[in-house]
Symmetry: C2
């Protein structure tokens, strides 16, 4: 594979230092040795990173774009992260900000196999925003998780995922809980007449995830969740490739390394390796991300990009019924609002609280909001 | 598995906020939902994180120790990272600083199978510090890598690893380069009479790493390298368990997430899951870590800890012959000094430069340094 990808880093340094810092970065993310000691001219031209651009990006901060050789990555998703940021992750003054790939590299990774359309099709929800919740707390036995899932489904939620802490622990092993929860959801769906997807959480190594996927498939599950920064990018890509009918929901666990820009890591790279939906911490909830970061992430997940299917953004954390209008105005309908604690706090009114949330999402008037923003006011 | 592990986080906040921040952390890293909504008392007692201690740790900074339930982790290495820091990695104000495990959890993970003693035994070097270098640059074909390896071995280096960017690319696929390099090193060793280990770099998913390991074993290789933050902790642990005769060298790629303290991540956690040696960026080289951080990392890797074998620290980055005395005084002999670019810059004098470096390490007088530090001076 020939060609170069363009990688943008935000580098914190003074203007005197930036040119040499940029050259060092280009070397660190390619040959990682003094270039003068490379005697092979073709290798120097073909493999060593090249500084493409240096632009100011604030006080003592620069956006440095490096052209890296695609040949150093080929189609290995783990190697992609390694060459984008492996050693430079160890430098405090560098943030990995963005990546521009050649078409053939993007196509090689393939992106989501289902994307937003996949969820809409499975849920019969072609226009509206989607809703999701999580089975909590971990520690509950399968029967209790199934009961909870049945209630959420009765309330009309679109997607019910395992809490990301529910792995394969003795209190609710995957093989014991997933068929049971899937059955409970199927039963509830028979009554409501509306589809609800149960999304179990994968854990362990590639072998254990394969076993879990087979179990999930046999239980009629259509989507699974995985944390790419825990499992490893190569693991996720292999699972996506091997399970073309399964949708993959990405969880951001361990991905908060402050030095990879969230829109790039979660919006672009998770999408690139095949995540159909991306759960991430929403602004204004219990995490500290800004609205700007969240918008950039959702944009990166959904924007036209090398023909890859758009991934469904799943903002989560501190979600409430009251925030629905604000958030649907903010994100538009191509989003899955994930609500957790607020429903569980409703206690015996869980089904009603779920139905309330669902109704708010289904009934949102996007036109009214747009009109309010664009209306010509009569008073000056 | 019963019991609790103690996890220490450095939290940046004011004294008014810290108690509630600590409670939030305990919840985030366990049940991740409002505790009041948990009706199962046994679960509340057994699973919800508990704030164990809050100690000042600087201006507007606190060391918060949370007791997490071992039952949420059991023996899953990926789940360990998930429960230690999965969601909290997404909070800018938290650093994962340390972990204290119960004996049975540490034993469950097992630690290094070979450790420092394993390298000493394989190299016949029972007392002195060890030396290492890396095959660079990536892009070289197998024949050139083999030639370079032969030269390093002729110079008497203990260990030659692949540059961490050398994966399975078309210019030097694993199966093409590893037997060739291993042969060249074996040939050189026959002439020098001193052992040298070639350590190839594993890449891809678990399947591809297994194939690579089998190829390496067949080529007579005794140790392999892997980047746990790229491959995933569960992947590494599985490989360690399946290959009891192979030693594992950890590379720190992608591990620079500034919010897991390096001594914990590289010194303790890499050791815990079975890494026999740990490459990391040395102070005073091209990376910005302090001497204090490096000492803490080396201490964590080597200190008595639940009876786990000590891991061999492998400081790297900007290593030179001139720094050998300083670094051996700093680290003592239980270390592997990794030198890269400085040898390659010697060009046609590569073998001599290698031999120089090796001689400096072998000949280091530890007693002289200790005496200099402890001598009673005649003048006041």
């Amino acid at each position: 594979m020939g060609g170069r990808l363009k990688v943008t880093y935000l580098v914190s340094c003074g203007v005197q230092a930036v040119e040499s810092r940029a050259r060092a970065l280009a070397v660190e993310q390619s040959v990682e040795m003094p270039v003068a000691a490379i005697t092979d001219a073709a290798l120097r031209d073909g493999i060593v990173g090249r500084v493409d651009a240096i632009e100011p990006a604030g006080a003592d901060r620069f956006a440095v774009t490096i052209a890296l050789a695609c040949a150093t990555i080929e189609a290995d998703a783990g190697q992609l992260l390694n060459m984008l940021f492996g050693n430079s992750s160890l430098h405090d003054d560098v943030v990995l900000a963005d990546v521009a790939l050649p078409d053939d590299m993007a196509a090689g990774f393939g992106g989501p196999r289902h994307g937003i359309a996949g969820f809409r099709g499975r849920l019969g929800a072609e226009r509206r925003a989607l809703t999701a919740t999580a089975l909590k707390p971990q520690g509950l036995p399968p029967a209790a998780l199934a009961d909870l899932a049945q209630k959420f489904a009765a309330g009309g939620i679109d997607l019910i995922k395992d809490d990301h802490g529910i792995a394969d622990q003795s209190y609710a092993p995957f093989a014991a809980r997933v068929p049971r929860i899937a059955d409970a959801v199927r039963e509830a769906v028979r009554k409501t007449g509306r589809p609800t997807l149960y999304v179990p959480n994968l854990s362990g190594d590639l072998d254990s995830m394969r076993v879990q996927l087979a179990c999930a498939g046999a239980a009629g599950v259509a989507a699974v969740m995985v944390a790419p920064m825990v499992a490893g990018f190569a693991t996720v890509r292999t699972l996506v490739t091997e399970n073309p009918d399964m949708a993959f929901v990405a969880h951001p666990a361990l991905g908060g390394a402050s030095r990879v820009a969230p829109p790039l890591l979660f919006g672009k790279l998770f999408r690139l390796i095949g995540c159909d939906a991306i759960v991430y911490p929403n602004f204004g909830g219990r995490f500290g991300w800004s609205a700007q970061t969240c918008r950039a992430l959702a944009d990166a997940a959904r924007a036209p990009w090398h023909g890859l299917a758009p991934s469904l953004p799943g903002p989560a954390g501190g979600m409430t019924r009251e925030r629905v209008p604000e958030l649907l105005d903010f994100y538009g309908p191509d989003v899955m609002l994930l609500i957790g604690g607020a429903l569980l706090e409703a206690g015996p009114r869980l089904i009603e609280a779920t139905a309330d949330f669902v109704a708010a999402v289904h009934g949102h008037d996007y036109v009214k909001a747009v009109r309010a923003r664009t209306s010509i006011r009569s008073s000056p």
